[in-house]
Symmetry: C2
Subunit: 551 residues, 2 copies
Amino acid sequence: MKTLRIIVIGGVAAGASFAARARRLSETAQITIIERGPDVSFANCGLPYHIGGEIPERRTLAVQTEASLKAMLNLDVRTLSEATFIDRAAKRVLVRNLRNGEEEWLAYDKLMLSPGAAPVFPSLPGIDDPRVFTLRNLQDMDRIAAASEAGKHAVIAGAGFIGLEMAEQLYRKGLSVEIVQISHQVLSLLDAKLAGLLEDELSKNNIGLHLGNQITRFEGRENKLLCHLSSGTVLETDLVVMSIGVQPESALAQAAGLQLGEKGHIAVSAFMQTSDPDIYAAGDVVETSERTMGGQIAVPLGGPANRQGRVAADHLFLKEKARPYPGSLGTSIVRVFEMAAGVTGWNEKGLKKAGIDYETVTVTDSHHASYYPGAKPLTLKIFWARDDGMLLGAQAAGQEGVDKRLDVMATAIAAGMNIEDLCHLELAYAPPFGSAKDVVNIAGFAATNMQDELVNMVHEFPAASADVQLLDVRGKALSMAQPVPGAINIPLTSLRNSMDRLDPGKPVVIFCSIGKNSYFASRVLLQHGFDAKSLAGGAFINKERKAAPVT
Amino acid sequence: MKTLRIIVIGGVAAGASFAARARRLSETAQITIIERGPDVSFANCGLPYHIGGEIPERRTLAVQTEASLKAMLNLDVRTLSEATFIDRAAKRVLVRNLRNGEEEWLAYDKLMLSPGAAPVFPSLPGIDDPRVFTLRNLQDMDRIAAASEAGKHAVIAGAGFIGLEMAEQLYRKGLSVEIVQISHQVLSLLDAKLAGLLEDELSKNNIGLHLGNQITRFEGRENKLLCHLSSGTVLETDLVVMSIGVQPESALAQAAGLQLGEKGHIAVSAFMQTSDPDIYAAGDVVETSERTMGGQIAVPLGGPANRQGRVAADHLFLKEKARPYPGSLGTSIVRVFEMAAGVTGWNEKGLKKAGIDYETVTVTDSHHASYYPGAKPLTLKIFWARDDGMLLGAQAAGQEGVDKRLDVMATAIAAGMNIEDLCHLELAYAPPFGSAKDVVNIAGFAATNMQDELVNMVHEFPAASADVQLLDVRGKALSMAQPVPGAINIPLTSLRNSMDRLDPGKPVVIFCSIGKNSYFASRVLLQHGFDAKSLAGGAFINKERKAAPVT
């Protein structure tokens, strides 16, 4: 039997995963990994954490080496080697050895393209200053670590996952850190109110925030680098990390005439085949189907990359037994100091843009039994299709238990569950771990209450107006300590006896701390004939938020 | 309109939940709660934690009072009142005031039975000694707390949830603790190997374990209480907590002629109606449908109780809009010192007893990225129907992240997912929270590999025999440090070059630490013509276990 020759271009997440699975399915295939960088299969998600010293040992990030992959998997790994051309007709790849510039043609029977995505690096004046960095590999990490040893101040351009992680880690190292973010919130994947919780946390930790702003040019001085912002502000810094996004490294695929998606990702089948059936692609370079409604989505994260690599290997060797990739949800999470936040599935911006008829609710409750010490507020926002209640997306923020609720929601969404199903998820409860009614159940209760028209929710404080009564049902002490202008305070416990203080002819918008007591109050008032609405998420999540003062 | 009169018998979890939801749906109903004890709606799951001081404030456990329920929900709560007879024909309940012995008839239109379940208290000689306790309410808690202040030694009869929690909390208070457990493992809901991890943890913390043993009689001495065990051992102690199980308090229902289940629970419809449509029942006293296959199951836990109470209220007031209770999985969790363990859905004993054709695999992996500091081993065992791969149950044990995986599995099982679906759950990954391939995904990979016949698993070390080769593919150092008798050590990295050390004519059973490298090795050997099997879960979970030495 002829030996099957497989070439893998890019050996980090998707490529390494593909190669490992391919070897498990075939001892005889000849598997060659072409990797442009000096390392294969390293832990790229860990890079920021080593810079801040949270992962102290650099070697723990270099998961595999050429030698270990040879010993474990009999893979032929060629680092510092760049694939520069794919000759599909002759089924061969031109590979340049970056050590000596020599080129050679390697023949393949099957090819895997997993070159990843590169940090966006806009052509701004002065950006080539050596104090401007991006973070993609171990060498980038070493360079930023070295610069941060000497530096006192850092600017982070872009408040996505890497930007937020870098801000925290550089702060840990003792630097003053300022973030410049083009949109008016951090972490654009989140909806603004939950992002606000992260912004509070950043401010609490003295991270400067320049929202609605971007760097327009850099100006290198001898000891400092100046960052000119669109607002006119000039930041004086020692180093800049550009983390404004990534773009798929699809030039090689494009030159080979493979089909690309609208945003330049490689288009693939559910089995990760490109438009050339002998060429697979996986990881940050591809777009796949979106899991709930089947559109196209690109999720440049490690989990999907690893599983896509595996799907491709299965398709190659298991044939009809292979199982398709079911699509991506875009589940993601980031830790920001003591807080964490993340999303799965659709967010509100996406739903609006796609014109989907959705409904949403935000709930906050304790991450475990409130009577057990250490309970922290956890905020969960969910989205569902208005017509049938099918879950479309979720996002969460809090100090503890955010990952758990995102995982439960990701599972529920992948399963095609609806809001009714959330009510009866039977989650693990003992005081240190959860509540008899978990915040996920409570989100289901709130959503079905809306569906059943037992409650009318509003999602913002009403504008001050003589036509609407704003009712504060929090306790007196809290109401006085955190007053909301124009609100009438009637604690929930006094409501039945004090209804005469409300005008039955005017709508009432009710709020409390987290949206639970205001719902209870709305049930009382509705049954007494009032036009009563409850503010979802309460004062905890609905507040005017400002950018942090810049230090 | 005639006022609807509702009587609720038992006002803790299900009853309080029912009453609160009923009030939200009807401001006009007259709702009376009859509670035998002095407290309503207290946090019964928190009782052990107050005894040990982990929940320092007793008042945090008394969630509601008669006054607060009146103010919040306009409920008429009568504590220290016992319902002694239900006259269904006349629709009235005889209630005895336990303060003064007076009796009165209360008329109802709808009745809710939520009296809960009582600790089993077997009629053993000497059990009436005042040093023998059970734990159900705040007064029991106070009594045990007082006894433990003075005591130096405690015996816990029964190693279920309450028994394990009590053991830990009394140990925290400085007592020597010994557990007497009738079965040969702690926490019978778990399968034995995972229970073994808890047993190790108990032993590490000097908790004595008497497995396969029970107390046959008590003998009160002046300063000590003697517990005579079936093994002949006599334990000398200061207090005993009986936590060998609970039984439903269905005597009142039975006397009223309501239909009961085989084990004495009240039988209910999916809307929590008893055989009398004007009488609902919910909580520990009922049995419901089992969620995966529809048999009967009783789950005496807070989560189901709360949600069942809500379902009943919805049925009463929302009529055709009401949604049925979908059945219980029995999701549960317990913390034992630094460890946690729990189950959801079917366990192996149950599947065997029910004669269900199932398959199972046990995997262990890090609870978050292994390169991020603090990664702990997490063991997950899953069960699925052999014919179609449908998930039937799961159990997990480890130091961190057990609750999250149980919740994901509970959601997946409730959704009717199968083992393929587990492979592609897109869970939240950042180094502090998870892994690119979570242990849940890995369980899916292992299970589908079994289904695809890519691996043959064994679930025990093979008996020593000249007919089977036992191959240890761990590294040399570990293999020498933790030798397994009769095993040939060939580290995975040397396997391809050392296959000549194996006899191709004899089966090979391969093991490693956690079952991953042994799977990898089995792929190599299978493709080279060997009859190779991999030990699921590895040496970590497959070891001879003994009861802890008794201190």
